[in-house]
């Protein structure tokens, strides 16, 4: 800690930061543009000037950039000396020379950091008479709009896109007052984290195109603290709505998960909520009339209750909906009849994993831990596609060696450009073991492309080397290289996933993780899961109650009633397999958002609320239970699953019921605060306009805002913007209208948002003392290394961020980025399969067949081929290939 004097007042501040950061943490207004809490300082914009005095005698002081000056004990500074005020005014005047006065039509208007800083600087009058510099804009794909004329050249975008997220198709061009930020030519921004440009840009150069489609001003948005449900990481978000339309998603800072950044799927994949085929009311199939009838909510509720009581019922829960919905369904049909919508393999892997965490054999690490590690081994998972935000953190991990070296030279981590100059090519080692080339390879010291069987062998070899159970002389060079880095690491981490089709691979990885953890207690372990609530669903489900056993049971003795909660079985099963099964069932009840292929076969179809329209909790990959608060009320006909299943139990009673039934979830109710007398928080801003008018098209009477007894937030501008124990529903602070206002809500810079709940960590404390016994060695479980029959090929998943997640795959912007489905294999394998020269291949499997275009990808190892994830799930992993005509 250091004591510094600002404008005559003494303050205690941390020393590992710069003066700008220190002022932010103290809540003092110092304007800035180019500094970013995650990206550090580069001193380019020159807006954050303050006066620094040599000592108490010095009355003159010297103009200093606060972002470039480390905090040292005894510093004396003034924030608003006349020369500083004039300098900042001039700085804004200089920026405004070319900035267009298009605020009324600019989407950043009202939440523009440049507007805020202009006001803060006091600049009001344009003196320059000359013309403005103009630029041609680029098409940057379906996500991001580009308006270069607004650019103030703070360099944040290129520092974020190129330096932070590793993007290669975006840069700064030209020089002087003609600098241009964009791509070398028009085209989609390729990086999976491009959407953060919208938040990183302090003005309206990069805007959210999906938001533009249904744009309203920030002050008219209704928001709530929520979480992203598009992968297993549980990134924190602010969904924002007006008039029943979800308008956009922005980042909500969580220090241990997403930090300041989201992936593009999480940010832009929300429009399914507004889908034209979104179910609006209950439907019932009328077999006699051969019609489908709209029914009332009461009728639907009644019908569901009858069906649930029928002689035999089977229900499938959902890994993408909340714990509460799944729990309510399980209560309705009974544990014995409740199944998870994931395969036996996947469920078993999740349960093995969570046991390891439970028994303290393996840590369950956060992304924050990952970012502070110094060596990472990524095994068998194309993480950029399956749990994207991890990839961004892995990339940051590789920068730690450079930061370390800089620290030795007295350069702090926030001195971004200096650290990069010092570290140059120096990287903390990231080793990748994968079945094909990945988007992270450029950050890795080495990527080994191996078949799953080879991967298992290598991992066992690494494990054996670490255990000293084999002689280094006989080990492969690859294994030795990886072991060398793992052994020298102070804080190594393993990253993997259960997505892969090889159960043995995860077991071997777990084994390796345990070994490493025994040798080094700072070892980290991350295993990505297939869906947002895979872990939560696994908690509620017995291992043998998975999709495979459910289908077998349906085949053997079809239940009278099948209840499917928010899951589209056609994603996992081929039509050939599924249709006959469903045909044998008398009553199929489907609850979902959209008219999915499964929903089309429903006899009773019930519309459910999306994540944005209900309260719920999700358990992320690390076993962190997090709450999502409803952002806006759904029409009465659209209900959360738990209300369909049990309309009598209110949300909080349900939470208590969950806590009573599930020992691990006993503190679940603490995540949610019910409404209390007197103290409310507003979901809408105090400036929200036209509350009476917004629905006047349909009803001229002003309607009472819908009540929300289950949370302290109101669906209206009434109430406080913040309360001590509650996270804010949106970020907005006097003088700080943009998302940069976050600094006014954080406990400190890079600290949590005040009042926010970090989530309940299920695996935080091991319930059993760490065991030093090794469990069954991984190499005895090499089921996937079984030889594949002659003439056959093993299919592996070709994961894709914009194809694999169900709900976002209905979103038009996401679809524009979905790659063409193809089968990928190496040229040698194509020749061996006698398919050389073919444009398309027919893939034949017992469960069905399909035809796909052939792509040559020489990074794919022999004996395997990659196909889109859902096709792999439908076809199974062992197939035959032939030329398609």
């Amino acid at each position: 800690m250091a004591t510094i004097i600002i404008d005559g007042a003494k303050h205690e501040v941390e020393t590992d930061q710069n003066l700008l950061q220190a002022c932010q943490t103290l809540g003092l207004d110092v304007p800035y543009f180019c500094w970013h809490p995650a990206m550090g300082s580069v001193g380019s914009c020159r807006q954050c000037a303050v006066t620094l005095f040599k000592d108490a005698e010095d009355k003159q002081g010297r103009l200093t950039m606060s972002c470039m000056t480390p905090v040292t004990d005894g510093q004396i500074l003034a924030l608003n000396n006349p020369d500083i005020i004039k300098f900042r005014d001039m700085q804004i005047e200089a920026l405004m020379i070319n900035h267009p006065h298009d605020c009324p039509v600019c989407e950043e208007g009202g939440e523009c950091h440049l507007q805020d800083m202009t006001l803060m600087s006091g600049h009001v009058k344009r003196r320059f008479r000359g013309p403005k510099q103009t630029h041609v804009n680029q098409y940057l794909g379906p996500f991001i709009g580009h308006e270069m004329n607004r650019c103030i050249a703070c360099y944040r975008c290129v520092r974020y896109y190129r330096d932070y997220s590793g993007g290669t198709d975006f840069d700064v061009f030209a020089s002087r007052n003609n600098v241009y930020f964009g791509r070398a030519e028009d085209g989609d921004l390729e990086n999976e984290f491009s959407g953060n440009l919208v938040e990183v840009c302090p003005t309206g150069v990069f805007t959210d195109k999906t938001y533009s489609q249904h744009y309203v001003r920030k002050w008219d948005l209704q928001s709530a603290p929520s979480i992203c449900t598009q992968c297993s990481l549980g990134c924190n978000t602010f969904p924002a709505e007006r008039n029943g339309i979800l308008r956009r998603i922005t980042n909500r800072y969580h220090p241990d998960i997403n930090g300041y950044f989201l992936c593009d799927r999480g940010r832009f994949g929300y429009d399914f909520v507004n889908h034209s085929e979104r179910l609006t009311q209950p439907w019932q199939r009328n077999t006699e009339q051969r019609s489908t009838d709209k029914i009332t909510t009461q009728q639907a509720q009644q019908r569901l209750r009858e069906l649930a009581k029928s002689s035999s019922v089977l229900a499938v829960g959902s890994a993408r909906t909340s714990l509460e919905n799944n729990f309510a369904l399980r209560q309705l049909v009974g544990k014995d009849n409740f199944y998870a919508d994931c395969s036996q393999q996947v469920l078993r892997q999740i349960q093995v994993l969570s046991q390891c965490h439970q028994y303290g054999l393996l840590p369950s690490s956060s992304l924050q831990t990952l970012e502070s590690s110094d060596t990472a081994l990524l095994i068998g998972e194309d993480i950029t596609q399956t749990a994207p935000r991890i990839a961004l953190s892995l990339r940051q991990m590789t920068g730690n060696a450079g930061k370390q070296k800089a620290a030795e030279m007295g350069i702090a981590a926030w001195q971004d450009a200096e650290v990069r100059n010092i570290c140059q090519q120096l990287k903390s080692p990231l080793h990748i073991i994968s079945s094909h080339a990945t988007r992270l390879d450029d950050a890795a010291v080495n990527t080994l492309c191996l078949s799953p069987a080879q991967q298992v062998t290598l991992i066992n070899e690494i494990d054996a080397l670490l255990n000293n159970s084999i002689d280094a002389g006989v080990a492969s060079r690859q294994a030795r290289n990886i072991v060398k880095d793992l052994q020298t690491a102070k804080q190594p981490i393993l990253v993997t996933g259960v997505h892969t089709d090889s159960e043995a691979l995860l077991r071997a990885t777990i084994q390796l993780g345990q070994t490493l953890y025994r040798l080094n207690s700072r070892t980290g372990f991350i295993c990505a899961l297939p869906q947002a609530n895979s872990m939560g669903l696994a908690l509620l489900t017995a291992t043998e109650h998975n999709l495979d056993t459910a289908l077998k049971k349906i085949e053997k003795s079809p239940p009278k009633t099948l209840i499917l909660l928010e899951t589209d079985l056609y994603r996992y099963c081929s039509e050939q397999l599924l249709e006959p099964l469903l045909n044998n069932i008398e009553n199929i009840v489907v609850l979902d958002h959209l008219l999915t292929p499964t929903a089309q076969s429903a006899d009773l179809l019930l519309p459910t609320t999306s994540f944005a329209e209900m309260h719920g909790s999700w358990v992320n990959y690390e076993g962190r239970v997090q709450a999502a608060t409803s952002c806006f009320p759904a029409p009465d006909e659209r209900r959360p699953g738990h209300l369909w299943f049990n309309a009598e139990t209110d949300f909080h009673s349900l939470l208590i019921e969950v806590a009573d039934c599930e020992a691990q979830l006993k503190s679940l109710p603490s995540l949610f605060t019910p409404q209390s007398e007197g103290f409310h928080l507003a979901r809408q801003t105090i400036r929200a306009t036209g509350r009476a008018a917004v629905k006047a098209v349909t009803n001229v009477r002003e309607q009472q805002p819908q009540q929300d007894p289950d949370s302290p937030y109101q669906y209206s501008p009434e109430g406080a913007a913040t309360l001590p124990e509650q996270p804010p529903a949106y970020l907005w602070h006097p003088n700080w209208n943009s998302n940069e206002s976050l600094n006014r809500f954080q406990e400190e810079i890079n600290g949590p948002i005040r009042g926010s709940h970090p989530g309940i960590l299920l695996h935080e404390k091991a319930s059993v003392v760490p065991s030093t016994d090794t469990t069954q060695p991984g190499y005895l479980l090499q089921d996937s290394s079984k030889p594949i029959a002659e003439g056959k090929l093993q299919l592996l998943a070709d994961y894709n961020i914009f194809r694999d997640e169900e709900l976002s795959s209905y979103v038009s912007a996401i679809q524009q980025r979905t790659p063409q489905a193809a089968i990928k294999m190496n040229l040698q394998q194509v020749k061996q399969s006698h398919c050389e020269g073919a444009d398309k291949l027919k893939i034949k499997a017992p469960a069905g067949s399909c035809i796909l275009p052939l792509y040559i990808d020489d990074s794919v190892p022999d004996g395997v081929a990659l196909v889109p994830t859902n096709l792999l799930q439908q076809l199974g992993s062992v197939v035959q290939l032939e030329r398609a005509e």
Binding site: F170, F173, S175, A184, G187, Q425, V830, D839, Y855
Partner: protein, 178 residues
């Protein structure tokens, strides 16, 4: 059958053997490939007069650095030409010493003689006029650089003659090389 690495947007230009060998030589001088970016761009310019999109892409691919990164460097420097230029580059010095000593007249006469404005190329693609700041020969101001030939103490009235001489030499070189 499609190669996954194909990029169909840009028409691919192959580097010549000589270009590749010069590039290899340059890459040897630097610990990382991007170090040779400026040398590489100038090498392309030496052979082709300017750097086309296709050549930029070919260089980036050979050096295994992103096109955007190379373009970022190329557009930063004044003397990397991303648009075609004429056979002869005419650079009158517009530094302040030359300005004092009569640059304006030299410049005016050049524009007339070539019938172009700054940054433009003559219709026959022979000349591109680009004034450059101080050429470091202020004691001989005004000066004029044409290709790598520096004309000192230029008399504005001699501009036509100078251009004439250059044209004749260009013709001769062309005859010799054909």
């Amino acid at each position: 059958m499609t190669d996954i690495n194909d990029n169909n947007n840009v028409q691919i230009v192959q580097l010549t053997e000589q270009e590749r060998s010069e590039l290899d030589h340059m890459l040897d001088h630097y610990p990382v490939a991007s170090g040779a970016s400026i040398d590489a761009l100038k090498m392309i310019q030496k052979f082709h007069g300017w750097v086309s999109d296709q050549h930029l892409a070919a260089l980036a691919s050979y050096m295994q650095i992103p096109v955007a990164e190379l373009e970022s460097v190329a557009t930063f420097y004044n003397l990397i030409f991303r648009k075609p230029v004429g056979d002869n580059l005419v650079h009158p010095c517009d530094g302040f010493s030359c300005m004092v000593m009569g640059y304006r007249k030299v410049h005016q006469n050049l524009k007339q003689a070539l019938n172009v404005n700054d940054g433009e190329t003559t219709g026959d693609k022979s000349y591109t006029l680009i004034p450059l700041p101080c050429l470091g020969a202020c004691d001989k101001a005004p000066v004029l650089l044409i290709n790598d030939m520096l004309y000192e103490n230029v008399n504005p009235d001699d501009v036509d003659d100078i251009i004439q001489t250059v044209s004749e030499r260009t013709v001769t070189t062309k005859v010799h090389s054909s």
